[in-house]
Chain length 353, copies 2
Amino acid sequence: MLNKLEIDKLIPKCSEWLNGKGRNSDIIISSRTRLARNLKNTPFPNRADKRKLERVVELVKRAVSNSKILNGMKFLEINNVNELDKEFLVERHLISPFFAKLNKPGAIFISEGELSCIMINEEDHLRIQWIRSGLDINTAWDSIRVVDNELNSMLDFAFSDELGYLTACPSNTGNGLRVSFFCHLPGIVLTKNLDKFLEEIVPAGIAVRGFYGEGTDVQGNIFQVSNQVTLGITEKDTIERIKKVAKKFIQYEKESRNKLLKDAKIKIEDKVYRAKAIMKNAKIISSLEFMSLLSAIRLGVELKMLKKIDRKILNELMVTVQSAHIQKLAGKNLTPLERDILRAEIVKDKINF
Amino acid sequence: MLNKLEIDKLIPKCSEWLNGKGRNSDIIISSRTRLARNLKNTPFPNRADKRKLERVVELVKRAVSNSKILNGMKFLEINNVNELDKEFLVERHLISPFFAKLNKPGAIFISEGELSCIMINEEDHLRIQWIRSGLDINTAWDSIRVVDNELNSMLDFAFSDELGYLTACPSNTGNGLRVSFFCHLPGIVLTKNLDKFLEEIVPAGIAVRGFYGEGTDVQGNIFQVSNQVTLGITEKDTIERIKKVAKKFIQYEKESRNKLLKDAKIKIEDKVYRAKAIMKNAKIISSLEFMSLLSAIRLGVELKMLKKIDRKILNELMVTVQSAHIQKLAGKNLTPLERDILRAEIVKDKINF
């Protein structure tokens, strides 16, 4: 028995992967695994007609209902969701921007605490994701693997002995696994070593992107790092590669922060104190500026230039001051200026400097 | 008997024209008159040899000593002044940037309070200037006219019945009078009406420039407005024209500020509160950023968004946080970063928000 997801009930609490309690969460905000799966003998979503897409939703719905692990998930047909709510789900990283723009039968399943979710009829029939706070790729992988095995026993996944799991885009064919993490790299950026560093330690087949994934800009020195190759590589090898990269990022970021403290302390203090002063006093703050100020505040707290602020508060603000979140909070559509004004108020209210 | 000017003794006090007490000094910072004069039968400075230039200095020195009005002025030969001190004098508007770069016999005379000064062997043999706080072109003109008459009776000025006073550059030939004022126009700039306004009310022959005169950028919304035509126009007409322009500037600036309060109050509050927060918290402030912050603070005070701060303090900071002033205060040469750090400290110290 699946309960319907009520989007407004998500508002008071934030996704648990933003709680800042995981390992290395001074640098790694979260770890994520994602599997792409499709049903055998059914066209991929971009080729399937309405009836077939509805059938996919029904089949997965039944499987999830019967699942021992997933049956607590809440369910929502995406067609019934209005634009603002779709944007809200994108901001929470529960659906992709691509999925928000589709206008076809599709659905989402979301777990309590939003640590896991499944999109139905995005690019593939199933997109299953597991997110964890901090650097915790192992748990994210162990959890999703169990779910995959269970769903595999209930649904007939499209699989080729030669290629592995079949997917709409060849870039996911093979193991269908995308492993990624969000990290905050102000030290590497401020020491102007980002390009050199990316060239040096990011091997071919690893992509570095912004906070909202493919095609989004880097905001507030937050990067998303993920594998791009799924064919001819085992899940275990993918995970080991990403973990290795994550550890390098952590090491370089720590070294960079120490270097800044040693060589440019006053410049960092200037940046941090300005960000705090602006957050406390500005009447208008754009989303982009907020991300940049937040990066400085986060760095200031980690370097003990500012008093301790719970990482959970800072992480959650990244999501809760986004455009749709602010409008949901206001209970109405707002102009960009109205949003920027309300954002400034929320920030003042939430961060107790 | 002329006393020698000791530059270091200028440091503790600032020029009196910065005291913010003159008429309309919410918008017009100061008014200035300047006369260009040359000695008859002596080549202009760019054509005169060392001996002739020294002779000019001697002749003017004698005249000033014998003057009833000027004999309290302090005297300094410019060749003996080091680079930092020259920059210091430029920042105080006592000498021109052009004069600071010359390496020929020349001198300056400066009155108590720095309301008047005379450069010897700049572009012309004599450049006499009178500055007053606020909109007070009449007093600046009345004072300089008396001085001119007295010097005229002691020195033989180059004069042609056809052209008027002869000068090195034809743009000064005629009455040799430059009338100018500094004004602070944040309202006109923020309502984005500057270009339209300049086109509309600035007649041909009137120039609008930055805080340090010809060839300098506009900083902190401070503009210098002056006449450019000296030939075929009486002094009285020049003065009336500039006064008329000044009144238009005052009227438009007031209207613009009211418009901002009516249409964009929160944007102005945002600007003003940010500027205050940054001045109070930044560790590093460049000279250019300071001028921009100061403009917002000044506007905030005038619009009563901030508590009253004496205009004298704000005006003086425009000069005292400039590069050479900061280094004179520190008693040594500083790197640009060291200056920016000291500037941030001075600003925190001087403005009591």
